[in-house]
């Protein structure tokens, strides 16, 4: 990777207002996108954008976080922080992908799940847990792409893929650096320091085995010249999808299980008791 940015600088790029979002990636990489809305229980949470589209002529289900571009959109979508209804919409789309044997491509770009009163009352924890469980057991190919901010369980809910790719300046972490510093050191202003110890960059996560590949970005970030980023991601998706499509449905589920089963296996020790 050519550029040498600090983790804090990458966090800033990942959050850049002009950074391509899920809607941009759908426009650039897919054709004939049909947006599917609503959770079929009570509402449509726009912070999750999803539907059916063609990828090089093949029907796929796409699901991603949507931050929005205008102030109105930011407010309506809580800056890409889904409520339980958003995750339940995602579950509905995932089940349809399974029904119609369509691969799923997800785009991850959220500070985290929305921490609101109604979100809790409507079961934010249950919604995320159920999405994780559902996605883990599907028998279609699932490819997750972390495009911007991958914050907490709200990001992971769309991240249980056979392959997980990440843009070079995207970040993926257990919590935002500010939240991390606030919890661990009771001082949210130490977020830059948190960035340094959290191992949240694509290179760190590749080394930890959390992701499978990095999509390079121009030195100034994806927003400065998005076309080469789209082309690189397109090529990676074509390659990964071709490889996964060779697996049987049960092998796809087993492959995904094994991938996440091994998460943290190098983090274990033994202590006599």
């Amino acid at each position: 990777m050519p550029n040498e940015l600090t983790p804090a600088q990458r966090v800033a790029l990942a959050r850049h207002a002009q950074r391509p979002g899920t809607a941009d990636f759908i426009d650039a990489l897919f054709t004939d996108f049909f947006e599917q809305r609503g959770d079929r229980h009570c509402m449509d949470d726009g912070s999750i954008l999803g539907g059916v589209a063609l990828f090089h002529g093949r029907p796929v289900t796409v699901i991603g976080h949507r931050k929005g571009r205008t102030l109105e959109e930011h407010m309506a979508y809580h800056f890409g922080m889904p409520s339980p209804e958003g995750y339940r919409k995602a579950q509905r789309l995932m089940l349809q992908a399974e029904k119609f044997s369509r691969p799923i491509v997800t785009f991850i770009d959220t500070p985290g799940a929305y921490p609101g009163l109604e979100a809790e009352a409507h079961g934010q924890g249950e919604a995320i847990a159920r999405t994780l469980a559902l996605l883990s057991g599907l028998t279609v190919p699932v490819i997750a792409v972390v495009t911007g901010e991958g914050g907490s369980g709200g990001a992971l809910a769309l991240g249980v893929g056979n392959k997980v790719l990440m843009l070079e300046n995207a970040v993926y972490s257990v919590l935002s650096p500010e939240g991390f510093a606030a919890i661990l050191w009771k001082d949210s202003s130490r977020s830059a320091e948190a960035c340094d110890v959290m191992k949240l960059t694509a290179a760190d996560l590749l080394e930890l085995g959390v992701i499978d590949g990095i999509i390079p970005e121009p030195a100034a970030g994806a927003h400065a010249a998005p076309q080469p980023v789209y082309r690189a991601l397109d090529a990676a998706l074509v390659r990964e999808l071709a490889a996964l499509s060779k697996l049987s449905p049960s092998a796809l589920a087993a492959n995904r299980y094994k991938k996440f089963r091994l998460m943290g296996s190098k983090a274990l020790g033994k202590e006599r008791l």
Partner: protein, 288 residues
């Protein structure tokens, strides 16, 4: 290696509790944090650490919890030596882990075991909030996952008691990934017909709420337990207003449809026995 002795001593105390002996001196008194009343410790222990004046449920340790739930003499611990190896070399974490091990006599924030409940064999896991607040480490996620796989392999019903402050910050992204790992194991177990009873105890929050704790076929909670995904303070900061009384309590969750029942601690064992009987040996495929 002096902490080996400290650990042994703690472990002995824990095992003593498992055999039914009181883990605290019987002659002293203490003030209930909920009602402010004065209670003799002997009465508190006899009442399973539920305040006899107001019904407040004190947090209890994992081994003591197991002693309340399992048939006497049937406890067998699994993976008791599994621990974290500080995977990110996080500043200060190794020393803190060591201190927590010495203080609690535990190697991780969850005890997993097999035992019998009313004669029915079961796989049981209990999170312990004294160890790093029961936070999700790679080792905790691994122990829970192994327990689910053990229940699957041996066709046993699974019972998990959750109590957690959320993620283990010092293990960063690897902590987060345990949510996917445990949820995936439970999904497999469920697809094969396994019975999973999830019991939420005070407090169950963050990544544990958003993974294995919320995936039970049967969802139970202890009275007054705080249960939620986001912390109350984070929510107040986000919405800019005070939260209503009782928000994120077990009673609140029951009202909003996320629990089957709230079960006071003295009735928990009988409730589990009843539920296990109602499910045969623990689910359709597992009944044979």
């Amino acid at each position: 290696m002096s902490n080996v002795f400290a650990q042994r001593r703690q472990k002995l105390l824990s095992l003593k509790a498992l055999r039914g002996a009181s883990p605290t001196p019987a002659h002293t008194e203490e003030t209930c944090p909920a009602c402010g009343g004065t209670i003799r410790r002997r009465d508190l222990a006899a009442g399973r650490y539920v305040c006899p004046l107001c019904g407040h449920h004190y947090p209890i340790g994992a081994y003591y919890r197991l002693s309340l739930v399992l048939d006497k003499g049937t406890f067998r611990e699994l993976d008791g030596s599994l621990t974290s190896n500080d995977p990110l070399s996080f500043p200060g974490y190794a020393a803190k882990l060591d201190a927590a091990r010495r203080r609690t006599g535990m190697n991780e924030g969850v005890v997993t075991a097999t035992g019998r409940i009313g004669g029915q064999k079961a796989a049981v896991g209990v999170l312990d909030s004294r160890f790093f607040m029961g936070s999700m480490s790679a080792a905790l996620g691994e122990k829970v996952t192994r327990l689910v796989e053990y229940a699957d392999k041996n066709k046993l019903p699974l019972i998990l008691f959750s109590a957690s402050g959320g993620a283990r910050m010092q293990e960063g992204i690897l902590s987060l990934m345990q949510m996917a790992k445990t949820a995936a194991a439970l999904e497999r177990f469920s697809q094969k017909g396994g019975l999973y009873i999830s019991v939420l105890t005070h407090p169950t929050t963050g990544g544990v709420t958003a993974s294995f704790a919320s995936l039970g076929d049967i969802m139970l909670a202890e009275p007054g337990a705080l249960i939620g995904f986001a912390g109350p303070r984070v929510i107040e900061q986000t919405i800019g207003e005070k939260l209503p009384e009782g928000f994120q309590s077990a009673e609140y969750l029951l009202e909003h449809g996320f629990l089957d029942a709230i079960v006071p601690r003295p009735q928990l064992r009988d409730t589990l026995i009843r539920l296990l009987k109602l499910h045969g040996k623990g689910g359709s495929d597992h009944a044979k």
